[in-house]
Amino acid sequence: MNPLNPAASATRFQIPDPIRVGLATGWKVTDASTLTANQTIEVDVVIIGTGAGGGVSAEILALAGLSVLMIEEGPLKSSSDFHMHEADAYPALYQESAARKTSDKAINILQGRCVGGSTTINWTSCFRTPEATLKHWQQHGLSGYGSAELQVWFELMERRLSVAPWRVAPNENNNLLQRGASKLGIPTGVMRRNVKGCWNLGYCGVGCPTNAKQSMLVTTVPSALNHGAQLLVRTRAERFNWRNDRIETLDCTALDQDGIQASGIRIRVRARHYIVAGGAINSPALLLRSQAPDPYDLLGKRTFLHPTVVCAARFKQEVNGFDGAPQSIYSDHFLQTQAVDGPIGYKLEVPPLHPILFATTMQGFGAVHAAMMKDFAHTHAMLALLRDGFSPQSIGGHVKLRADDSAELDYPISDFVWDGARRAMLTMADIQFAAGASSVHPVHEAATGYTSWSAARNAINALAYQPLRTRVVSAHVMGGCAIAEDEHHGVVAANGIHHQLQNLSVHDGSLFPTSVGANPQLSIYSIVAKLASEMATRLTGKPAPVPLAS
């Protein structure tokens, strides 16, 4: 019986899909793959990308009464489409089917490509920009971004996206981090999450099926559409046409229904102001394709990833790492054991364990891999996110264009970073044995399972830390259009406006001068809220609107 409508026959209760509802009210949304003729569109502001930065910008500027066009390369998918199957989600919602890699193929990058961007597929973890990060940015020539100045923006976006500490019991996969760390005297904390009425399912990474996750897809983008904004999906921004210090137009191509090939239809956009919010890698690539002015050779450089290493472990009890909120426990301890610009520090978290993600991450094949997979329900995994970009020995990667003009990140992993990988593996194995693991499995091609801490420690110290041999992944892409007051050090100024193109702004994670040192979504929301609000005032002459919680 459907408790909401006892008179209804026994049909399955359907979770309302706010996107379908909105489309039925007449939202101006076009799937460019259905277009049969070229288009020219003129608006006040065009925003490329509907992720953390694009969504926040769109809402504020639409609320301010400006005509806004959002351009999104990915498709518009929503809760009716989210059936919690990895095989559907990775090609539909992620960049390059969740297999985007750095040039040498050593780092696998998870980044979104859909309405809502990476916020539609992230694991809901919210952290304010750490104090040590903000201090470092200040020391390196960025004022106005101290924690006192940013507090109002953190609070605004925390309210807007229902960010709150997770009060439900952590799942066993997370508990093992807490328990093991506690035994070793390593402090842990409980995360805050951008969720409202979360069902504690654990499928945030393949699209939240209940709309509890307060991603851009169900918050700022609908709000912008409700206030007259337009949205064009399956549309790839190709290049800006600019002259002297102004952009004149933006050229886009429509993609086919499969989202891979161009359909042949072209769209030209003319706007008063252009906002690039495609995320790191994509935003610098767009500016590279546009041959945007880059007099100090900064564009695309200093792109950071929080390079992440993984250690799995098997337990006698069921862990069921696919069940329950994916991330709820963390430790920042190893970010604080040395100076921010000293030996690379790392943040400890756990990932959700889903069959495809786990099977493709674990090394090996045949009988050994099969044995690991058969024990899936008893398997835990831990992540160490390395805080890159602070030491002079960690300069990150640079974005370049392939022969077909598509974006590629070249991120050579330095010995400085490998040293952090080794130390992080030791920490993770130590915590896992302290939590009672029966065997620990560092994810490295030369590693096997170890049943004692001493065996694991010796093995981890003896491993050759090299690309492709060590599994390195990334779910956080940052930098490449750095923000700095001085044009010698930044692509954009402190107000987000490009130093050489006066009607172009960057509003996404590519702004960061270093990695964030924390899961970046809240930093992007808050800093972009500040930049977009200032832009609204500049363009309208009126105080900026304040978005309210959904």
Partner: protein, 176 residues
């Protein structure tokens, strides 16, 4: 393979081949083989044979035991792999086309993969040895090819719901 192609391949020698391939597209050999892959990329029957043999080796230990069931499971995986390739950007599809070009040419299959028989006749032990050799290869190119095949095969296998009972994964809850 035409005689002129064979001559140019042999002239390059193994080291030269790797250098050429690493400098240009990932696995591309001589100019004769640098045709752009059509989209959507179709696996020809030789590529499917190679993939089936490779899948049998990767999935040893988790495959069903009966010969018919195993064959059906592998064919199903190969189909899923083809569909997965279609979802990749064109640059990645081209790399995969080049990789299969390399794997299905008898001389390179023999020299680079060490597999002397045609793929349907290759023993699982021989294929496993080739995979292990590429996994630990001196050249990053071979290592990255191994990783690409590993990802394609295991993603396709565990995309199939019928495999979930073997790993104790109940699947997502129904929401009603």
């Amino acid at each position: 393979m035409s005689s002129s192609t064979r001559r140019s391949f042999l002239k390059l020698g193994l080291i030269g081949t790797i250098t050429v391939a690493a400098a240009g597209g990932a696995y591309r050999l001589t100019r004769e083989h640098s045709t752009m892959a059509a989209h959507p990329y179709k696996l020809d029957s030789n590529a499917k044979d190679a993939l089936a043999a490779i899948a049998l080796a990767f999935l040893a230990g988790i495959l069903p035991t009966g010969a018919n069931a195993r064959s059906a499971a592998v064919q199903s995986s190969v189909s899923r792999i083809e569909a997965a390739i279609h979802g990749l950007p064109l640059a990645a599809q081209q790399e995969i086309a080049d990789l299969f070009g390399l794997l299905t040419l008898a001389p390179t299959r023999r020299v680079l993969a060490g597999v002397s028989h045609d793929w349907p006749e290759a023993s699982t032990a021989d294929v496993a040895e080739f995979l292990q050799a590429w996994r630990n290869h001196r050249f990053q190119l071979m290592q990255s090819a191994y990783q690409a095949l590993h990802a394609l095969v295991f993603a396709s296998w565990y995309a199939n719901e019928t495999t979930w009972t073997t790993i104790g994964y109940p699947g997502p809850r129904t929401l009603s």
